[in-house]
């Protein structure tokens, strides 16, 4: 039951942030997802990131689509307004919300079915438009709520629970995001919070569309041998050798990447995947380089995680539309209604 309140018992020495809030103030309802779901780790990472960044919870708006991932905004930031919209359409609703009030932080949460299948159009166009948001894809490569169908990010050759092999080419949402103008692009793993939390922080502090693809194993339907998105599989190939520090978007990006470690795994069907992190030679300010890198490594069967691209000087949709600084939803009648006199002049021009 999601509406059971969490116990309010707190240790007296529970750490507080600069606002005087404890981590508990950033939590939400109790998760209804399966025990061990990667999505819950992402929720925890969001809580930690917001706590660390001293964000006032009520200044965040959480939006999602439909699916397991899209349920999660109920499970963090309980003092924030949230909107669980329709399947695949979170980006447009978030866009409208962001236009109405430019002063809030917008956090979109979606999944691989929600963003790569039914919602791929909205995903793509929100990136193009430069909406100021953090967009987290909780990517488990499977439809959970409908019990285990392949999604559009399921790797070719990956097996479902019954042993059926996926023959369709997967969609790489981050490759799309790079091409379509996202200005902060990252990939991570729900089981690697040291990597994930700084990436979320960087995204929340970024202006423009910040998107993070988080590989997030489904313990119930996609955590078996033969799946390329199982905990074992991903953990085994996701050595935390390349921890990112929180990156302020306007800072020179000078995180010291340790030499990328490459884990080579032979899958059940003989295909090989390498999950590796970024190496020293990687330039996260080079969009074309990032696209090339993704493609090159993908061709080699590797998964690249980390901060793939950041453009710290990106402009957002509000800048493109030249909207006033004051949020549109706070403009009063006097700022909006031209009044009767203006109509008299207009009438005269229509005779």
């Amino acid at each position: 039951m999601t509406y059971l309140a969490k116990p309010k018992l707190l240790r007296a020495d529970a750490p507080k942030n600069a606002l005087g809030y404890t981590r508990r103030d950033y939590e939400g309802a109790i998760s209804t997802l399966c025990a061990g779901c990667g999505h819950d780790s992402i929720s925890a990472a969001v809580v930690q990131a917001c706590f660390d960044l001293d964000i006032e919870p009520h200044r965040v708006a959480k939006l999602s689509g439909i699916g397991c991932s899209s349920k999660t905004p109920d499970y963090f930031l309980g003092a924030s307004h949230g909107f669980n919209t329709t399947h695949g359409r979170m980006p447009s609703v978030l866009t409208g919300a962001a236009l109405a009030n430019r002063d809030l932080l917008y956090l979109g949460v979606s999944g691989d079915g929600d963003s790569a299948s039914i919602g791929i159009g909205q995903f793509a166009h929100a990136m193009r438009r430069g909406v100021n948001m953090t967009y987290i894809v909780e990517n488990n490569g499977v439809y959970g709520l409908t019990k285990g169908q392949f999604s559009a990010t399921t790797d070719k050759g990956s097996k479902n629970k019954r042993g059926v092999v996926n023959n369709d080419t997967p969609i790489d949402l981050m490759a799309l995001a790079l091409q379509l103008g996202a200005s902060y692009v990252a990939r991570s793993f729900s089981g690697d919070k040291e990597q994930l939390i700084p990436l979320i922080k960087g995204a929340l502090r970024h202006r423009g569309p910040a998107v993070i693809d988080v590989i997030s194993p489904c313990v119930t339907f996609n955590n078996h041998a033969g799946s390329t998105k199982s905990y074992d599989y991903v953990r085994e190939h996701n050595e935390a050798v390349n921890r990112l520090d929180f990156i302020l978007p306007r800072d020179q990006i000078n995180a010291s990447y340790e030499p990328g470690s490459l884990r080579r795994v032979v899958q059940h069907d003989g295909s090989i995947l390498h999950l590796r992190k970024l190496g020293n030679d990687y330039d996260p300010s080079d969009r074309v380089g990032a696209m090339n890198h993704l493609q090159e490594r993908h061709a080699l069967g590797e998964i690249v995680t980390g901060l793939l691209y950041v453009d710290s000087s990106a402009e957002d949709l509000h800048r493109h539309l030249n909207t006033v600084e004051k949020p549109l939803n706070q403009l009063g009648d006097a700022y909006l209604c031209p009044g009767g006199k203006a109509l008299e002049a207009l009438n005269a021009s229509l005779r």
């Binding site: 999601t2 509406y3 006032e56 919870p57 009520h58 200044r59 708006a61 939006l63 905004p73 109920d74 309980g78 003092a79 924030s80 307004h81 949230g82 909107f83 669980n84 919209t85 329709t86 359409r89 980006p91 447009s92 609703v93 978030l94 866009t95 409208g96 919300a97 236009l99 109405a100 009030n101 002063d103 809030l104 159009g121 909205q122 166009h125 438009r129 949709l317 509000h318 539309l321 030249n322 909207t323 006033v324 600084e325 549109l328 939803n329 706070q330 403009l331 009648d333 700022y335 909006l336 209604c337 031209p338 009044g339 009767g340 203006a342 109509l343 207009l346 009438n347 229509l350 005779r351």
Partner: protein, 613 residues
């Protein structure tokens, strides 16, 4: 055949080629007639193409002020060889034909029962102008000049209109007036002017303004306080957003810094456009979209979300011919059902039916108050006929004392004071709950909006009791809406009658004229113009007060009649269909003819039976 003789009461039709620049010349001519105080109702009949296809501009001149389409054509200006034969055939016996006589046509291509007035427009243009575009454009102005002579109009009026139109561009004024004069002089020199049709000065226009419904909707959205618009181009609604954009630039640009007090996003499709609107409205900004039938179909799922999550959005639906792609450039009123019950599950939506551009403005602005008050989607259902055609209407007005009704929005102060907040709790008995805008208070008033079922405090719940509570509240809210939508407009017949007629939207001018025609024939019918859905009690009372009610509408299935039957639980036999749906605007002749026929079929004496009121 005697040539038609008529002053200030006839129909002129221009047959042109799309993209030839004829539209502005034709409009200039219509405005010139109005400047002489004579009401004109022009209608564009255009194809779903950009260039080179046939297009017509039909103009009804009516001293009596009848603005509905009349049908027929007394004077044809045939400028399109492609459609020559059908254009000639359409002229009423005794009518007139004006055409470009540069190229000689065989006698067989004309008719004996009309007056043929050939003007060598191309020849004159080729003699006067060297630039090909000028030759094309001034040909149009030239026939306007010729018509001014033929109809005995005051040349100075047209000349002044051109001067007003091109104020500041003196070179254009001189060139246009010159072309106008060439046509005028040719007609004077070669024909006996005026012909049987004449425009004479009158006082029928008054302070009326001349504008189309789409522009008026865009203006209504500005006055209604809309700040966010999400949209996708679709005929015939596109110009609603173009007008909103242009009025916003004019009225909503911050004078201090030139920044925009509005945001308009052209999205990738209609799903995204209504998504943007819902997101903005959820976040406390007044927002809207404009679309047409196919867009309404695409938005269905989102309408259900806005209905169930109770988000106040406004949708202008400029209806065109359906189903499917249908007749994109023709008019119909065929989206009532698609909008009234949009989306799956048990949904009902508020609809408004403006009759003309004035109401597009007033109801358009009011839609935003209604949406906020009721926290639900509000559809403004106009159609191509009023949306895309300039129409004489009451001048726009605005009460400066009026303040936007933002509905039940709980403030930070109220939350701080401990006011009980349940997002879906009916505290006032009217079915309308309170809402909070995101970001209002650090610890109170946050809620999670969703399309799934929930309890009164917005917590996820599949409990039957919670579901039923919510649905019953939504019903109560819809009952409340009956009292808030604009009231119907009643016109009693000159004598008591047991017959009534219900109509709405763009049918209005044709119905008013039909009423007069029927009255003149001794046929008495009370009429009621429905302006909103859910139906106010007066609508159902009107039906109950009459034995039979004609339901006049522009669709094939009688959609208003269906709504009346369903919502008013009215006996279908008492609701007689009067349906016009060929894509052209309904006419008074059609309505009065159908009603008279139906009365004859019912074998009833249409008059002098008293009814208790």
């Amino acid at each position: 055949m005697k040539p038609i003789q008529s002053s200030n009461d006839f129909v002129i039709k221009f047959a042109n080629v799309n993209g030839s620049g004829s539209a502005s010349a034709n409009e200039l001519f219509a405005r010139a007639i109005m400047r002489m105080g004579v009401p004109v109702a022009p209608r564009n009949i255009f194809p779903s193409y950009i260039l080179g296809m046939p297009t017509w501009y039909e103009m009804r001149v009516s001293a009596a002020g009848w603005l509905g389409r009349r049908g027929g054509c007394d004077l044809m200006v045939a400028m399109n060889p492609q459609t020559w034969d059908r254009d000639i055939a359409e002229i009423e016996a005794g009518g007139y034909l004006v055409y470009d006589s540069t190229k000689t046509l065989p006698r067989s291509r004309f008719r004996d029962d009309i007056t043929v007035l050939g003007i060598p427009l191309t020849e004159i243009c080729n003699r006067e102008y060297t630039d090909p575009r000028q030759r094309q454009l001034f040909k149009n102005i030239m026939y306007v000049g010729a018509l001014a002579a033929l109809l005995g109009m005051d040349f100075a009026v047209v000349e002044k209109l051109i001067a007003d139109q091109y104020r500041g561009k003196d070179k254009l004024i001189g060139a246009n007036v010159n072309a106008l004069k060439l046509g005028y002089d040719y007609a004077k020199a070669n024909f006996s002017c005026p012909i049987g049709l004449r425009v004479e000065r009158a006082n029928g226009v008054g302070d009326k303004i001349f504008i189309n419904g789409n522009d008026a909707c865009g203006l209504g959205a500005v006055y209604g306080g809309a700040t966010v618009a999400g949209w996708y181009p679709i005929t015939p609604s596109t110009s609603v957003i173009e007008a909103f954009s242009s009025y916003c630039r004019k009225y909503r640009t911050d004078p201090d810094n030139g920044m925009a007090r509005y945001a308009i996003v052209q999205t990738e499709d209609e799903l995204a456009s209504i998504g943007v609107v819902i997101g903005a409205a959820w976040n406390g900004a007044r927002s809207f979209t404009a679309t047409s039938g196919p867009g309404i179909s695409l938005m269905q799922e989102f309408f259900g979300l806005a209905y169930f999550a109770e988000v106040p959005v406004v949708v202008f639906n400029v209806q065109r011919g359906g189903p499917s792609t249908g007749m994109p450039t023709r008019t119909q009123q065929s989206d009532l059902i698609a909008c009234a019950y949009a989306s799956h599950g048990d949904t009902k939506h508020v609809l408004l039916f403006p009759e003309d551009p004035y109401e597009c403005f007033t109801l358009g602005a009011q839609a935003f108050d209604l949406a906020d008050r009721l926290q639900t989607p509000v559809f403004v259902l106009l159609d191509l006929d009023i949306g895309m055609n300039d129409r004489l209407c009451h001048p726009f007005d605005w009460d400066d004392q009026r303040r936007y009704d933002r509905g039940k929005v709980m403030s930070a102060e109220e939350l701080e004071a401990g006011k009980n907040f349940g997002r879906y709790l009916d505290v006032d008995g009217d079915g309308i709950p309170w809402r909070t805008i995101p970001g209002t208070h650090p610890t109170k008033g946050a809620f999670f909006s969703r399309g799934t079922t929930r309890n009164a405090y917005a917590k996820y719940s599949e409990a039957g009791t919670d579901y039923v509570y919510n649905m019953e509240r939504l019903r109560r809210k819809f009952e409340t809406a009956k009292k808030l939508v604009p009231a119907p407009v009643l016109q009693r017949a000159s004598q008591p009658t047991r017959f009534g007629a219900i109509y709405y939207g763009s049918t209005s001018p044709a119905m008013a004229e039909a009423y007069a025609l029927l009255e003149a024939q001794g046929v008495h019918v009370d009429t009621l113009r429905v302006r909103g859905f859910p139906f106010a009690d007066e609508v159902i009372d009107f039906i109950n007060d009459h034995d039979y009610v004609f339901v006049v509408e522009q669709n094939e299935s009688g959609q208003m009649r269906m709504l009346l039957m369903t919502e008013g639980e009215v006996d279908p036999k008492r609701l007689i269909r009067v349906l016009h749906y060929d894509g052209t605007p309904i006419t008074a002749r059609f309505i009065s003819g159908r009603i008279a026929d139906a009365l004859a079929e019912h074998k009833v004496t249409p008059i002098r039976k008293q009814v208790a009121s």
